[in-house]
């Protein structure tokens, strides 16, 4: 099949899709706000459940915030490709001749902007809630800034694989949670090291490596998964 596209038309398609997904996200405010509210509720329940002891809260804060971020991301993942799959837009993307990898990347970027970025921006409030030391806040924000895009990227592969299944959302959690474990361990270790006054840059280096690897590979894997689901 001869359907080559110029780089100008590829970048045009990327930005058109990014713009459309952001517009759709703001039109569907419930879907946009639900993960954020979920994150706030989960984090706020911990002081109520285990008591307001400042030292204990500060100790568990990195883990609690990161697990809440992880759950909030998984909740929002199902919407990544589902509506495009169900209304036939994904078929239009395939037939357009644009690479599905580029389309996946644009959609992952939009997903991170509406689901991941708010988590990073809410992080100071969550840290205050959990009595996290101020000196660790910057590291927590950095780990979330580096780690949440990885969550979106890895999650896109799971969504691509489960999108054609009726209860794909449940399977999706089982598929992606094990893959999220290394990110969770590295990110929380970085924040805890910063809280204890220990070096933490090696953990940030590992997160950066994870991000680069995911950006390089995940859109290809997601595109392949989507192609399988479509057939």
């Amino acid at each position: 099949m001869t359907r080559e596209k110029s780089s100008a038309s590829l970048s045009g398609a990327f930005y058109a899709l990014l713009r459309r997904d952001l517009l759709l996200a703001f039109r569907r405010r419930t879907e946009l706000l639900f993960p954020v509210i979920f994150l706030l509720v989960v984090v706020s329940l911990f002081p109520l459940g285990i008591g307001p002891g400042p030292q204990l809260l500060a100790r568990i804060a990195p883990g609690v915030i990161w697990i809440a971020a992880l759950l909030a991301t998984v909740i929002s993942l199902d919407g990544l490709f589902r509506s495009d799959f169900e209304d036939g837009t994904l078929e239009q993307f395939v037939i357009s001749g644009h690479p599905l990898t580029l389309i996946s990347l644009a959609k992952i970027c939009a997903h991170w902007l509406v689901a991941g970025l708010p988590i990073v921006l809410l992080c100071p409030l969550l840290a205050l809630w959990m009595n996290l030391p101020v000196e660790s806040l910057g590291v927590l924000m950095l780990t979330l800034a580096l780690g949440t895009p990885v969550l979106s990227l890895i999650g896109s592969i799971g969504v691509g694989l489960t999108i054609s299944l009726k209860r794909g959302g449940q399977l999706l959690s089982l598929l992606v949670f094990p893959l999220y474990v290394p990110i969770l361990i590295i990110a929380t270790a970085a924040v805890m090291a910063a809280s204890d006054g220990l070096p933490y840059t090696q953990f940030l280096g590992l997160l950066t490596a994870g991000l680069i690897t995911s950006v390089t590979l995940a859109p290809f894997a997601a595109a392949a998964a989507l192609k399988i689901s479509l057939s």
């Binding site: 398609a13 459309r20 517009l23 759709l24 209304d87 036939g88 037939i95 057939s231």
Partner: protein, 196 residues
Amino acid sequence: MLTASQINFERYFEPVFQPVNFELNSGELLLVTGANGCGKTTLIRVLADILHPTSGQIENQAAGMAYVGHYLGIKDDLSVLENLRFMRDFLGTSNRDCADVIRQVGLSRVAEQQARTLSAGQRKRCALARLLLSETELWLLDEPYSNLDLEGIELVDRILNDHLQSGGACVLATHGAHRPEWPATRDCFLVSGAVA
């Protein structure tokens, strides 16, 4: 423009249709007809490269394809105009004004309305407007007359004739009584999974 040699597609190890062969040139219409379940939609999706044929070869020399299937690819939360603007920007091929195309398909009155408020026929017209914006040589249409009133059916025939006259080609699957009038029409009649 489009050549299919011995295309076969199997689902759960059962052939949906027997090997299909045809050659479609510029200005020609391939009419795929047959009863429900004989594989018309599957054949169109194979030609659209959404499904991979189990065996056989498809040679597509067309400058771009456009497809209207059962699922129209229209976003409920966007207006008709926004849907079309997105597709124009995404495809990056059209210099046509979206408002002109909307007028051509008779949707000017609802252009600013969200697509969720449209009737099934109006949604089909919106998909036809996307076809016009795509400026592609090869059109793959799966039941384009469904949900359309008489005026809508005439609209499909009119834009199809314009497309074929301008050197395009089209594969059209239909099970209905209506048959587009076009001199250069080839027939592909699918019966019980076999090409007659």
